[in-house]
């Protein structure tokens, strides 16, 4: 696991778990590693992983079965989708818009480009 972003490590760990949930790699009720196991796997202080797990628990993404471990909640995917969409809208999109303004890219250019990319990647266009 690479930590290059400027987000604090505990949030980067949350992001990694979010992505595994969205991709379906971590399904409902699947067990995630213990704080120590995960910390050892990625070379991070267990207290940092604990902080990530606390955040995910508070968000309802994971739940703790006492003495057994942490598991993915049944509605985790819906929660994560909402959280990540909000994050995209509030944090990532403004940055993209700022960069577009800086480079003089209009929404028209943007639309055409995304439209072209989308049809390139869709099999129907072949």
């Amino acid at each position: 696991m690479e930590f290059n972003s400027n987000k604090s490590i505990y949030l980067q760990i949350c992001d990694a778990i979010y992505e595994h949930i969205l991709s379906g790699e971590l399904g409902p009720d699947s067990r995630i590693p213990s704080v120590r196991e995960y910390g050892a796997e990625i070379g991070v202080n267990p207290n940092t992983v604990m902080r990530s797990y606390e955040k995910l628990t508070n968000e309802g993404v994971i739940y703790n079965k006492r003495g057994i471990g942490y598991f993915i909640s049944r509605n985790a995917q819906a929660i994560v989708l909402q959280t990540m969409r909000d994050d995209f809208m509030n944090n990532e999109l403004p940055q993209i818009i700022r960069k577009m303004e800086l480079l003089g890219i209009s929404f028209e250019d943007f639309y055409q480009q995304t439209h072209a990319t989308a049809s390139e990647s869709s099999p129907q266009s072949l």
Partner: protein, 275 residues
């Protein structure tokens, strides 16, 4: 828990530590940072009972380390910066010296040696400095002690070993242990050490968890200059700038920038972090 109160130490007339007061809690891996010669090694040797305090006290769960009670000693390990190249194999060393530590675990020693790709059958006197260091790290972790003090443990380790060391520090340490690691190589131990202690000449400038640090200080990695930054350093692609975190924003703590910020604003930092 280790409670240090008004601790003082000097070499002859030369004072090294003065009025050091701090607490080290269990379940934490403290990183002890400080410039050369500020007394990091002295502090470690005081904590493990190799030296007697000249003033103040150290209370390690009811023990004074300098009393060197055998049951207490068997529950602590001090890994010094310089390690002895014994004229025996690592395995023989572990067999004979492991007895001094009540919870020494031979299987764990072999396992960690394996992770470090270090041959336990090799004579320690024939090992490279890095191999020898890894042997002692494996031994230190296999002792399963409640108190673990390490002086510059990543010195001499090759690149893959540094990552293995970080993982081993999480995997093979006890959950109830108090761990203190002194280092100059903050990048080697990034993400492992938390809380951070910064020692200055005779004084503690900072003893705070990363959570507290990121609550109070903001680390900006953009290209935009900030007017009232406490610290600014150019890096490829922009700057690292440190400001007071007045808007409760999240950021990743950069330990080198933190260290330099603390050094440039000693009184301010002490003020912010004193509760």
């Amino acid at each position: 828990m280790i409670a240090i109160r008004d601790l003082g130490f000097s070499y002859g007339e030369i004072p090294v530590l003065k009025n050091i007061t701090m607490t080290l809690e269990e379940g934490r891996i403290y990183g002890l940072l400080g410039e050369n010669g500020v007394g990091k090694t002295t502090l470690l040797t005081l904590l493990c009972g190799l030296k007697a305090a000249k003033a103040g006290s150290i209370n390690t769960d009811g023990h004074n380390p300098f009393d060197r009670d055998p049951s207490f000693l068997s529950d602590q390990y001090y890994l010094s910066d310089e390690v002895a190249a014994m004229n025996m194999t690592a395995l023989d060393y572990a067999k004979s010296y492991g007895h001094f530590w009540e919870k020494f675990d031979m299987d764990k020693f072999i396992e960690i040696m394996g992770i470090f790709e270090n041959d336990p059958g090799k004579k320690m006197s024939k090992m490279s400095f890095g191999q020898l260091k890894k042997t002692y790290i494996a031994f230190a972790l296999a002792c399963n002690t409640r108190y673990l003090f390490m002086d510059e443990p990543t010195n001499g380790l090759d690149i893959p070993s540094k990552a293995q060391f970080r993982k081993a520090m999480t995997k093979y340490t006890r959950e109830d242990s108090v761990i203190l690691i002194s280092t100059h190589q903050v990048r080697d131990l990034e993400n492992i050490i938390d809380p951070i202690i910064i020692l200055d000449r005779q004084d503690i400038l900072l003893n705070a968890s990363l959570e507290e640090i990121s609550e109070k200080l903001y680390f900006d990695y953009s290209t935009v200059k900030i007017d009232n930054a406490l610290y600014c350093e150019m890096i490829p692609g922009g700057n690292i700038q440190v400001t007071l975190n007045t808007e409760s924003k999240d950021s990743k703590v950069n330990l080198e920038a933190l260290f330099n910020t603390v050094h440039q604003h000693k009184e301010l930092i002490k003020g912010i972090f004193s509760k």
